[in-house]
Symmetry: C2
Subunit: 199 residues, 2 copies
């Protein structure tokens, strides 16, 4: 069965790929708005860990709406949530048997409720799978330590391809670099560099 997985190059979506690869032909799909080339970092990670990779083009109008929301809110949560929902809708229309993302049990954003999952499945005739949603933070951290080589650093220094990078770039372009710090709190990001595969 063919499965498309929303992929950022970070530890959660990489671990999700490892959980699914026994059961599905997994293609890693990095969503982007065409604003920056950050998706290339996800492709490099996909190559390093040995998965097929394709970009997933999102609607630039959704990025503009998300940026407005983030600027109004003063924090990114709701805007990121809008983009994630849009990305899942796009991915669900790509003809896969199943689609997936890297959301964990303890994630505050993005989240996909049971009702949203069911609606996505019913409308698109596709299985939606969140393979990490039964894993807490501690379990994910321990699996990452055991399975992945990871680089950790502050958001602005790590080369990965989640929605945040492009939304930051749009805000910086439209409102100046100072506006970014006002909306996005400092936090650590991760970027996977390799997978320890069984010998």
């Amino acid at each position: 069965m063919e499965l498309g997985l929303l992929y950022s190059g970070g530890k959660d979506s990489t671990l999700a790929a490892l959980l699914l690869e026994r059961f599905y032909d997994v293609t890693l799909r990095t969503a982007h708005f065409g604003v920056t080339d950050d998706w290339q970092h996800a492709r490099e990670t996909a190559d390093a860990v040995g998965f097929a990779f394709e970009r997933l083009q999102l609607d630039p109008g959704v990025a503009e709406e998300a940026v407005e929301r983030i600027r109004e809110d003063g924090f990114p949560r709701n805007g990121i949530q809008q983009v994630h929902r849009h990305a899942l809708e796009r991915l669900a229309g790509e003809g896969y048997d199943a689609i997936a993302d890297g959301t964990r049990r303890d994630d505050r954003v993005p989240t996909v409720s049971r009702a949203q999952a069911q609606s996505l499945e019913d409308r698109h005739g596709v299985d939606y799978i969140a393979p990490l949603s039964g894993f807490g933070r501690g379990a994910v951290d321990r699996l990452v330590d055991a399975e992945l080589d990871v680089t950790v650093g502050p958001s602005e220094a790590i080369t990965r391809a989640d929605y945040e990078a492009e939304l930051r770039a749009i805000i910086a372009e439209e409102h100046g670099p100072g506006a970014v710090a006002g909306c996005f709190p400092d936090h650590e990001q991760t970027h996977v560099t390799d997978v320890r595969r069984p010998e």
Copy 2:
């Protein structure tokens, strides 16, 4: 890392074992009250699919409470839920790095809320994992078709080892066979006979 998985011999808990075996040393643990020998069916399935197996002894007092609850309610949901919570508490005290069960996204019972999962982890210093909680019914059915050889039939005819078999036996012993049908609706059960492993 050592992981104990609550195991009935059914398709859900068998699929959960397959999802976890890449990352953990999995032991299948079948909870029982010492009322019937139904746990032996789970051991046969565990042997067939190639996993380590041990029984997990539950407190017979919990079975009595669950039976009372089921008789009062006229349906099994709350009683089964009580037993599942007790089984997870017992399993969490067994010294594993992680414990798991086969609950799915669409299960009405048993369920483990995010708060219950966190509490179990904090009190016992163990990771609790529900590897199927991000999979809907359709995804599980398709994976089972692809990966498992399964026998399907009505609850009373299928030899498996979930809590239901022993609770039914207690009710039949105490109140006669007719009392069982009044509390447990007819539904299909499954029993796994083999796993299709990659060549």
